[in-house]
């Protein structure tokens, strides 16, 4: 149960994990400082900068924008799959970006917030291992370029040459950096207290039940998080809140040996490993 390496191996993945007690700083590490591919987890950093700019009065969260149907970023959820133009507020785009990892919503916000501002915020917070290389459209463009096809590849030889799976050439972080960013949100340090509360609310509205949340199947335990998925990559970072007040930030990044898109055990081990780490923190 508590041997994280064995858990990850049994699920057919290599895993990197950092778990920290937000109140005491006690931690559990398993490759916590290794560079990892962020995939959609980068949207947490974008969310923070979006709210910081709202705090600073540089944007108005309730401002309505129209997202044109012919300008979508590819993606399986939210505005990305809608057939028509959508007029929606910036903060509702932020909701779709967090709840269902809507790529079009994220890219629309990036056009407003700017990636340089996101990276400047990360640097100012001392998250030196974290860098957002491109928006969702740029990420997919690199995959299409490397594979010569539009579909997500499952051919191991093709996957091996994807820049999108190399932390040095795509958006990257470390498990420890991500738990630190989450802790800042939970401690009202990432932005104003009101904005941090909004961010916590949005992270709590994420719909996926199969990764982090699967490790904590209890009515009185809250799980908030953000997933990230690419060929062989399954990630989730989040915060688990226990009924006795215990609050734990957990970041789990995995890379599967197999290339199949559907690997329930690889999804589930994110929750199992997080639970084991939290158990250790609570021992």
């Amino acid at each position: 149960m508590s041997d994280l390496g064995a858990l990850f191996r049994a699920a057919g993945v290599t895993g990197y994990l950092h778990a920290v007690d937000v109140d005491t700083g006690a931690e559990v590490t398993h490759g916590a400082d290794e560079p990892v591919v962020l995939a959609s987890v980068f949207k947490v950093a974008l969310l923070v900068e979006f709210f910081r700019q709202a705090d600073a009065g540089r944007l108005e969260p309730s401002e309505r924008v129209t997202v044109m149907a012919d300008g979508h970023t590819p993606g399986p959820t939210g505005v990305s799959v809608m057939a028509d133009d959508v007029t929606i507020s910036l903060r509702d785009l932020a909701y779709l970006m967090m709840a269902v990892s809507d790529n079009t919503a994220a890219d629309t916000l990036i056009r407003r917030v700017g990636l340089p501002a996101v990276n400047a915020m990360l640097a100012a917070a001392g998250l030196d291992g974290t860098w957002v290389e491109h928006d969702c459209r740029g990420l997919f463009a690199s995959i299409v370029e490397d594979t010569g096809q539009e579909e997500m590849p499952t051919d191991p030889a093709v996957i091996a040459r994807l820049r999108a799976l190399d932390p040095a050439r795509t958006s990257r972080s470390t498990p420890r950096d991500m738990t630190r960013l989450l802790s800042m949100i939970w401690r009202d340090e990432a932005a104003s207290a009101e904005s941090c509360a909004s961010m916590r609310g949005l992270l709590g509205l994420q719909v996926w039940p199969h990764r982090l949340a699967a490790g904590f199947p209890y009515d009185d335990v809250a799980v908030s998080g953000k997933t990230g998925t690419l060929p062989t990559i399954r990630n989730e970072v989040g915060v688990v809140e226990y009924p006795d007040g215990g609050c734990y930030a957990v970041a789990v990044f995995t890379r599967s040996y197999g290339t199949a898109q559907n690997q329930p055990r690889a999804d589930a081990v994110i929750g199992t490993a997080a639970r084991a780490a939290v158990e250790r923190l609570r021992d």
């Binding site: 149960m1 719909v207 199947p217 209890y218 250790r280």
Partner: protein, 306 residues
């Protein structure tokens, strides 16, 4: 007439339902016994026994008066006991059998310190039996688990015990630092016998948290747990082959208090104070009202409106 003596005759006849046997027990002949029961019936203005058939049977009023008569007789005995001063008075207290020997020893020591002239006579009894014994007058003060209902009982301050779960050491859940009630799904459960109120409350809380025991056993020992057949709730135990784990979120709150019938004697009041202190120090109990409200944290994927 000596009402108490007549009531004693009444209780013995009611137990035997046979005048001959009752007379033997009382060390007297049968005719005077029958006579005295008749005089008691005249005194009270009701028929206590139905003697019409070959069998002696209690009448309905007789049944109603029997419990009171027993109590009066028991209390008079007790009065004589206390007045006897022969080998010192005793305070008869009921304690839950699962309390553990170290807690019971601390209760006795603590009470001896405060009231050395009264001996503490603890009897291990479950709550339902304590209620009966308190009502009968065979127990001076109880230490029992709520909810209980009985007319005429008074209760001391309520303490809360937060039970954990006892598992076989081979149970995979024993590897967790704390266990959630929902984790117990599919397992059988052992609950204390003779604790009906506690059963209801405990099982309701289990259902709230997604645990519906496959089967509920009433048992006083942890044999079924040791065998890997079931799990049990209770205070921390250190026994070979077993593992105790706290329950995540402390969902169960078992309430304990002292109880007595009528006017509590000084010694019973003192015992109550000693019990509160000992249970807090030795059994990890806390003042009532410390129970955290259960809060459901809805998730979009599992919420009922999704």
């Amino acid at each position: 007439m000596d009402l108490v003596r007549h009531l004693r005759y009444f209780t013995v006849v009611a137990e035997e339902l046979h005048f001959g046997n009752a007379a033997v027990r009382l060390g007297m002949a049968q005719p005077p016994l029958s006579q005295r029961i008749r005089r008691l019936e005249e005194e009270l203005g009701v028929r206590l026994f139905d003697r019409s058939s070959r069998q002696v049977r209690l009448t309905e009023p007789g049944r109603l008066l029997l419990a009171e008569a027993r109590e009066i007789v028991a209390r008079v005995d007790r009065l004589r006991d206390l007045a006897g001063r022969g080998e010192g008075a005793a305070l008869r207290v009921g304690v839950p059998p699962d309390l553990g020997s170290s807690v019971i020893a601390a209760l006795i020591a603590g009470f001896r310190e405060r009231v050395p002239e009264v001996r503490l006579a603890p009897a291990e009894m479950w709550s339902a039996d304590q209620v009966i014994a308190l009502t009968d007058g065979t127990l001076d003060v109880g230490l029992l688990r709520h909810p209980v209902t009985a007319p005429g009982l008074s209760f001391g301050p309520v303490l809360v015990q937060r039970p954990g779960v006892v598992l076989a050491e081979a149970d995979p859940l024993a590897e967790l630092s704390s266990v959630h009630l929902a984790d117990l799904a599919g397992r059988q459960l052992v609950l204390f016998p003779r604790e009906p109120g506690l059963h209801e409350e405990t099982l309701a809380e289990c259902r709230h948290h997604g645990y519906v025991p496959e089967e509920v056993h009433e048992a006083q020992t942890l044999g079924l747990v040791l065998a890997g057949t079931a799990v049990a709730f209770g205070p921390r135990v250190e026994l070979p082959g077993l593992r105790w784990r706290p329950l995540l979120g402390s969902p169960l709150a078992w309430r304990v208090s002292t109880a007595w019938r009528g006017q509590a004697a000084d010694a019973a009041v003192t015992f109550g104070a000693v019990a509160v202190r000992v249970l807090k120090e030795k059994a990890g109990m806390t003042d009532d009202g410390a129970a955290p409200a259960r809060r459901v944290r809805a998730r979009p994927s599992s919420g009922f409106l999704a």
